[in-house]
């Protein structure tokens, strides 16, 4: 079966600015595919090209085996879209907006069922402005489903939501996916990408840096644990370097400011219990005092740091 979305060597320039620079990936049917990257990475431009809003400068984009540029109307009828920042008619209530949007499509879902699906059945007579942030995002997802689409494209569906509302939306997205809809979404939240995406593309500066399942991306890193140590006094470069072979220094004290003192160091450790023990031995042999120690499994955050050499820009 052909993939739900196929992007081949996509290039999109706006004047002299290259927003997307030779990106290729394909989204298989039935999966939740995420594009992770900081603001300005080219995620939204990539999505909007797939949605037919931009003409590619180079490369090819197809949805359900239809080339988007030459089949824009057909493609639009088959996909559901939630834009990053989009309002809805302010004088219509939720049910009316869904009915209006549905009327633009050959196949439409019942507004009541959609509102029920996203947990807004009791708000059907309300206006969008009367909803909370989380409810508005859930409504946006409902609005992207008005045409019973085969593929939904969600652009940063959880940005700006509190953790609880975000988790709420994750389960909604999973439910939508389990009903047979292919989901393509962007996010700049690591834990979101890790939690809901079957496969993940990491983008920065218009380029695709990695593409795999979140687990494989993490396993791909040589280290498997991140260790945060806080010492009673600063370590010298030599002392840091002496902390055995399995240790990779990600942040020295000067750079690692937040959440710790000047003497906090972020270190990456190979996946073996002996590596941790040998590191601790080194510390005690050097006569350093250990004030705090945190050991956490490697996350996508670390994968991202490895790939881009920088933290996720906000």
């Amino acid at each position: 079966m052909e993939p739900a979305v196929q992007v081949e060597n996509l290039v999109k320039r706006f004047g002299s600015f290259t927003a997307v620079d030779g990106v290729s990936f394909s989204v298989e049917r039935g999966e939740i595919f995420g594009i992770l990257g900081p603001n300005g990475a080219g995620k939204t431009t990539t999505l909007e090209t797939i949605e037919g809003l931009h003409k590619p400068t180079g490369g090819k984009v197809s949805v359900l085996d239809l080339e988007v540029q030459s089949n824009a109307t057909k493609v639009k009828a088959l996909i559901g879209v939630q834009l990053q920042a989009s309002a809805y008619y302010s004088y219509l209530n939720l049910k009316e907006i869904l009915a209006l949007l549905g009327s633009f499509y050959p196949h439409k879902a019942s507004p009541e069922l959609l509102l029920d699906q996203v947990g807004l059945a009791d708000k059907s007579k309300n206006r969008v402005s009367e909803l909370s942030g989380g409810q508005q995002q859930r409504f946006a997802v409902a609005a992207s489903l008005v045409n019973n689409p085969e593929v939904v494209i969600l652009d940063e569906p959880t940005t700006g939501l509190d953790p609880q509302a975000r988790r709420n939306l994750w389960s909604l997205i999973r439910e939508v996916n389990q009903s047979g809809v292919t989901v393509l979404l962007t996010t700049h939240y690591m834990e979101e990408a890790e939690a809901i995406c079957d496969r993940l593309a990491i983008m920065d500066h218009g380029k695709l840096l990695a593409l795999d399942t979140p687990r494989n991306l993490i396993n791909g890193l040589e280290a498997s644990y991140t260790v945060k140590v806080t010492m009673d006094k600063p370590m010298t470069k030599a002392q840091l370097n002496s902390l055995n072979g399995g240790v990779e220094i990600i942040h020295s004290g000067e750079r690692y400011g937040d959440g710790g003192s000047e003497n906090t160091y972020l270190l990456r450790l190979a996946n073996s219990p002996s590596a941790l023990k040998s590191m601790l031995d080194q510390i005690s042999q050097a006569g350093l005092g250990l004030e705090n120690l945190q050991v956490t499994p490697v996350t996508l955050e670390d994968v991202f740091l490895e790939l881009t050499g920088s933290e996720l820009r906000d």
Partner: protein, 352 residues
């Protein structure tokens, strides 16, 4: 923060300034001018003297035309010409003395439209004739001038203004409401949201235009109902045509609103731009005052505005009871505007 919305500030300041200029341009103290065509059938020395002195009267705008009398009379009846003065063949010849027991009288033709001005012109011309003849044989003043008054349906200033207001209401509402609405839709990415659906662009335009034209028709109905039933205005012509003209005019102004919305960066700027386009037009197209009171080339410029043919068509149909096919120049001008603005609107319109 407000100071940084430069576009909105500019239009907010520009607009009152423009009003001052527009009002300053009108010469409200004058009576306006009366356009007069003089047909000289005599060509004699007294006729020449009479014509010379007529020209000295400030508020008469003379034209010595080769019009046929029949056409000139028709123009007076239609309101296209204020006054027709016919200097008769025997104005100063002896034959006249015999035939009419005095000089053959001047003929002054006017319509019953503006009684005040009629009195003024009638008096002025009568005095002049009497002066010219009193140098010769004794004359009987009442026989010096024959006034022919063409009766037209009674029109008072209110009726004229009522249709001015109708045009004004349709114009401002159509331009400003669509410009602000579309600008708001664009700012909130509602247009973009529509663009990711299979809805075709022309359907979106057609829906917006249809809704606003219907609104314009309701608006026209309310303005006319209040004007007629509350303030005693009169509509002589066919109401169906009034609504047809209203709809066509509304399309023109909606197109202009679409064009402005393409340039406006915010709804506030769109509103300011709409006012700047609508208000000068309201005065320059003769909504309240005759454009004849405007100086310089402004009366000619007024012909180049879309509101002018709309008001012309409305007044010709509703006040002068002209059949719709007789006002085709107005309709052609309005139709031309509708097509031209429509083409520009589609060209400049932006969704994102």
């Amino acid at each position: 923060m407000m100071a940084r919305n430069r576009q909105a500030i500019f239009w907010a300041l520009f607009f009152p300034l423009m009003l001052v200029v527009v009002f300053g341009l009108f010469n409200f103290n004058g009576v306006g001018v009366a356009d007069v065509v003089v047909v000289d059938e005599s060509g004699g020395p007294k006729a020449e003297l009479f014509r010379g002195q007529l020209e000295e009267i400030e508020f008469l705008e003379l034209e010595f035309d080769e019009l046929s009398l029949e056409l000139a009379r028709e123009m007076v009846a239609d309101g296209d010409l204020g006054y027709l003065i016919i200097i008769p063949n025997h104005f100063d010849g002896p034959a006249g003395q015999i035939q009419f027991d005095g000089p053959e009288p001047i003929e002054l033709v006017y319509s019953s439209r503006s009684p005040d001005r009629n009195q003024l012109v009638d008096g002025a011309v009568r005095n002049l004739v009497s002066e010219i003849h009193s140098a010769g044989a004794p004359v009987i003043p009442s026989r010096l001038l024959v006034a022919e008054v063409i009766q037209v349906p009674e029109v008072d200033y209110f009726d004229t203004v009522l249709f001015g207001l109708l045009g004004l209401g349709i114009m401002t509402n159509s331009i400003i409401s669509i410009a602000v609405r579309i600008s708001t839709f664009r700012n909130q990415a509602i247009l973009k949201r529509l663009l990711v659906t299979p809805l075709s662009i022309w359907k979106f335009f057609a829906a917006e235009i249809t809704a606003h034209v219907l609104l314009a028709l309701v608006q026209a109905g309310i303005i006319l109902a209040v004007g007629v039933f509350v303030f005693g205005g009169k509509v002589h012509g066919n109401l169906l045509w009034v609504f047809c003209i209203t709809a066509l005019g509304s399309v023109v102004f909606l197109n202009i609103g679409f064009i402005l919305s393409a340039w406006a960066k915010s709804p506030a700027a769109a509103s300011g731009m709409g006012n700047v386009v609508a208000f000068p037009m309201m005065f320059l197209a003769g909504t309240f005052f005759s454009t004849a009171a405007l100086p310089w080339i402004l009366p000619q410029l007024s012909l180049a505005l879309p509101l002018t043919p709309m008001l012309g068509a409305l007044r010709d149909v509703a006040i002068n009871s002209e059949p719709i096919w007789d006002i085709w120049p107005h309709l052609a001008a309005l139709g031309g505007w509708a097509v031209a603005t429509g083409v520009v609107a589609v060209k400049v319109f932006k969704f994102g």
